[in-house]
């Protein structure tokens, strides 16, 4: 097995573009940025993995033609919210196994067009499928409040942190003009009690790309620049346990994040306390709170205390989480979301994250970052990136 590196990353800013941007336009911006970042051209790419949820069949193959017609294998990968993450994993596996030297992973989606055409005025023929993600995660929150005494203020502090991180990220969809407080988050209007609008990710569009290759190649292409390797990768679906809900799309059973994070820690030979930064599937603030514990940043029942202390902020005492704004502020178009996490973590490990740069207590650049995504159905995909 060969060691695999992130050779380059690129993004088109996430936003609610409606008819203003096509998937092809956004993909070209993200893909060319990633190729430039890697120091490669499309002629160097041996295989492409296209991640999209909402775009039509063939969209991946058609959009790849914008880069050139070179005969390379191209495939669509789809795994709900974890689509981009799952596509990265396929590229990682193929390069690691020696099938290809350079693989392109391109995620794109226009969630705004899906919402406009897909659901307006439609009768809920399958009521069990109509339990919205907001409701599902709100029920996590209600249960947590019952078991642990969690307050809506804790969720609001997470969301405020992510808005304030997002304001430092030019790719983020929600750009707060002023510092966001927990009070503002709490008063932003109810989506599904106790989750407010600002505790929930927005609908949006965007594209993100990662170029994957060998560690040797990364050293040669960009001499002097820190090399970011994929230290571990896992993709898991659920194991049966009592209390599983078989109706409709399911997202985020607790056990899956515990098992998946244990698996990547073992692969990478690290533990949660070694992480300098973490990106999670914070489509709703309650998720981020749960994942603090499920991936082992703190013990069960302790998340609230650490939130009050600001332990998950950039410069916080435990680990910087959702440094680019997370799904809540950076946005969550679907296909590109997992790759936006890779973009952020790669920049952070190289020391290129500008005003939101994470530093270790020693002042050194971060060494380890983890990217966690949940996908409906459901699956959990986690990657650990490491500066070498």
């Amino acid at each position: 097995m060969r060691e695999v590196a992130i050779l380059g990353v690129g993004m088109h800013p996430f936003g609610a573009y409606y008819s203003g941007k096509t998937n092809a336009e956004m993909s070209l911006v993200a893909g060319l940025a990633a190729l430039d970042d890697a120091g490669l051209t499309f002629a160097d790419v041996n295989a492409a993995y296209m991640g999209h949820i909402f775009a039509q069949v063939m969209s991946g193959t058609r959009i790849l033609k914008e880069f050139g017609l070179t005969g390379i294998p191209v495939q669509r990968i789809e795994n709900a919210s974890a689509t981009g993450s799952a596509a990265l994993r396929e590229a990682y596996l193929s390069v690691s196994a020696g099938h290809y030297d350079v693989a392109m992973v391109l995620g794109f989606d226009k969630m705004t067009s899906m919402i406009q055409s897909g659901t307006a005025g439609t009768a809920p023929e399958n009521l069990e499928d109509a339990i919205l993600p907001a409701a599902f995660f709100a029920m996590w929150a209600t249960r947590r409040m019952h078991e642990r005494g969690t307050k809506p203020e804790h969720l609001a502090r997470i969301a405020a942190k992510n808005f304030n991180n997002g304001a430092l990220n030019p790719m983020a969809q929600r750009q707060a003009k002023e510092r966001i407080t927990a009070e503002k988050v709490l008063s932003s209007g109810m989506v599904a009690w106790p989750l407010t609008k600002m505790m929930s990710c927005p609908i949006g569009d965007g594209a993100a790309c990662a170029i994957v290759g060998t560690v040797e190649m990364a050293k040669k292409l960009r001499p002097g620049r820190p090399v970011v390797k994929i230290a571990a990768s896992t993709l898991q679906s659920e194991r049966y346990e009592r209390g599983h809900i078989f109706q409709g799309p399911v997202v985020g059973p607790a056990r899956m994040s515990i098992d998946s994070s244990n698996a990547v820690y073992e692969q990478a030979g690290v533990g949660p306390r070694d992480l300098d930064l973490l990106q999670v599937h914070d489509a709703f603030a309650i998720e981020e709170l749960e994942y603090y514990e499920l991936v082992g940043l703190c013990r069960p029942g302790e998340a609230e205390k650490h939130i009050e202390e600001g332990a998950f902020e950039i410069g916080g005492s435990l680990c910087a989480v959702s440094t680019d704004g997370g799904l809540i502020a950076r946005g969550h178009p679907g296909g590109p979301t997992g790759l936006a996490q890779i973009w952020e973590t790669t920049l952070q490990l190289r020391g290129e994250a500008d005003r939101r740069q994470v530093r270790r207590k020693s002042g050194d650049l971060p060494r380890l970052g983890m990217c966690h995504m949940m996908g409906g159905g459901s699956v959990c995909v986690i990657h650990i990136l490491q500066r070498v």
Partner: protein, 146 residues
């Protein structure tokens, strides 16, 4: 002349019963595994726990303990009678046999509390050309427990 009862149909066949007598509560249509004894809702061809193919269909009382709930303040797939000014309730209900059911709630938010007993009842979602399309909603049974 007595009014003829309107025909009633479940929103999806095989999910729950719609008794002829409107006063009778519905039953949930589930599965029991003959090998490991685990119960499931909705029905499954194979056991979700041990993968046995020896499964039988069972009727379950639509009554259980509220595991969690929320009130949603977004319009749901356009206009339906689930829209209310103060949101519509959605809950997760643990049945005594084991399955956790996810379903709409009947009632206002202050009536609900985690851990209380709730009872499923039929409600008309819409009129489909003279036939009432029925859904199940869960309502608190008696006073909310602390």
């Amino acid at each position: 002349m007595p009014e003829t009862p309107r025909p009633r149909q479940p929103i999806k066949p095989g999910f729950f019963t719609v008794p002829d007598d409107p006063a009778q509560p519905p039953k949930l249509l589930g599965t029991r595994c003959e090998d490991c004894g685990e119960f499931f809702y909705p029905r499954r061809a194979l056991c979700g726990k041990c993968m046995s193919r020896r499964t039988v269909e069972v009727e379950l009382d639509a009554r259980g303990t509220l595991y969690s709930y929320t009130f949603v303040h977004l319009p749901l797939f356009g206009s339906t009678n689930m829209e209310h000014a103060d949101g519509y309730g959605v809950g997760q209900i643990d049945l005594p046999e084991g399955p956790r059911v996810q379903a709409p709630l009947a009632g206002k938010q202050p009536e609900f509390q985690v851990g209380q007993t709730v009872q499923g009842e039929l409600d008309v979602l819409r009129d489909d050309g003279g036939t009432d399309i029925m859904i199940i909603r869960f309502r608190p049974l008696g006073e909310a427990r602390p």
